[in-house]
């Protein structure tokens, strides 16, 4: 009986694992998704803080978290087997997103609303249309 269960589980898991290997394009898209997600979280936090909708401590902590996540994404990228040109492009955009999170974090800690509002206004919005098409959610 136990053996049958093991065979059944193996029959379910092994093909699934075999099919789960991600292509290079999927891995690149995944890195892009993570970068966009944290970049836009940073933007969202900045905008809400400037509106007075969230407390200072929460905003500062979340911006610091965004910086950490973008840093660890950069490290993960170093181990990824993808073309060098794509790696360089991803690293550049990750660096810019991290710098944005760090700068916004400094401005929040200094309680400089004007700078935060300016930074948020000048930062790129997520391209909602392309995101929605990419995810094909609706």
């Amino acid at each position: 009986m136990l053996l049958r269960w093991r065979v059944l589980c193996a029959a379910l898991i092994v093909p699934a694992i075999a099919c789960s290997g991600k292509s290079v394009a999927e891995r690149i898209a995944e890195h892009d998704r993570v970068r966009v997600s944290w970049e836009q979280t940073t933007r969202f936090v900045g905008a809400e803080w400037a509106d007075g909708a969230i407390p200072d401590a929460y905003a500062a902590r979340t911006l610091a978290r965004a910086g950490e996540e973008l840093r660890s994404e950069d490290q993960a990228l170093g181990k990824e087997k993808i073309p060098d040109r794509e790696r360089a492009r991803l690293r550049e955009s990750l660096g810019a997103a991290r710098a944005f999170a760090d700068t916004l974090g400094l401005a929040v800690r200094a309680r400089d609303r004007e700078t935060v509002m300016r930074l948020v206004k000048d930062s790129p919005r997520a391209n909602a249309d392309s995101l929605l098409r990419q995810a094909a959610l609706w």
Partner: protein
Amino acid sequence: MKKILEITLGIVTSIGGFLEVGSLATAAQAGAAFGFQLIWAILLGTICLIFLVEMSGRLAAVSKQTLAGAMRDRFGYPFFLVPLVTMSLLGVLVLASELGGLSLALQLVTGVAFPWWAPLGAFAAWLLLWKGTFSVIEKGASLLGLITVVFVVAAFRLHPDWARAAAGSFPSMPRHEPMRYWFIAVSIMGASIAPYLLYFYSAGAVEDRWNETDVPVNRITATFGMSFGGALSVAVLIVAALVFVPRGIRIERFDQIALMLTPIMGRWGFVLFAGALGIACFGAMLEIALSVAYLTAQGFGWQWSEDARPRDVARFSLVYTITLVAGALIVVIGVDPLAITLMSMALTSALLPIAIVPFLILMNDRHFVGQHGNGWISNTVVCAIVGLAFVLAVVSIPLELLGS
């Protein structure tokens, strides 16, 4: 009139007690990553929960036995140890995720890091269990939990496309990230079909001295209470989809979920989110700690009752104390609360058959439920949904672990 009041209170407490960190986090992740596409998983989980909760109340009302006690009597000690050990360990893990949610809610409001709040949260829960009565714990926490209705208000204020939301009620294949899609679906079902709720519900029915005349009331309460509760989870998913998808934000951390109500309600949105998360998690912590204690005490035939003085039910009180301490230790060491939540919900799905199959056998045993045994509809629905959750969990958990 008394019955109507009873039903109303039962429904209201079911709604207030439905949402907890698991359903909140999984619904928010699903909405942010897949829009309305995973509403079906909430619906399936809720339908299964309606049947299971009704069954556990019926078992208690007819046999005057709790689920744990009946399982021990029907299958004997050696078999009973399997669900006892599995559900107790799972209970500790789920309690840790609820305590993580409570601690995060306090972190949101105070700015003090969440691991510091875990011992205080666990102590507050322990004190309430030690001093409180079953009625205070069940109804008090659930009535306060009505704050979670804020998600329904937010969903309506966002004017979603209801036709598209309705389309999400039917299962569909993912168009991107299939492994993540199925893992979240499994986590949603695990969050909805929480076995601890069944032990808590049946013990509550025995504590409240239900009898056969309560069977219709139980049916109405379970159906409407859980349906409205499921609607809360759907509302969370809708809000997350409409707030996070257009911004390209995927939920990786709890910090991000906290922003879901601020575009609609401003500062109040943040406060209400923290309040809803904290209260929902605190209520769930009480229920889980009690459920583990009920399961253990009823299984071993010890004295048990939340209404008794702790020294009269010393072993029962010791079990919920140990459960709370163990849950607090997991949070204190700083494990990511969202990771514990998702993994514990997915594990719940994988382990469901251990709790549910013996329960189904009991519900078809005339010796226990007499003429109130299960019909073919409830047997089929529960078997199908639990089977689906189990298969998806067995496939998606290893893949998620490998992927991360």
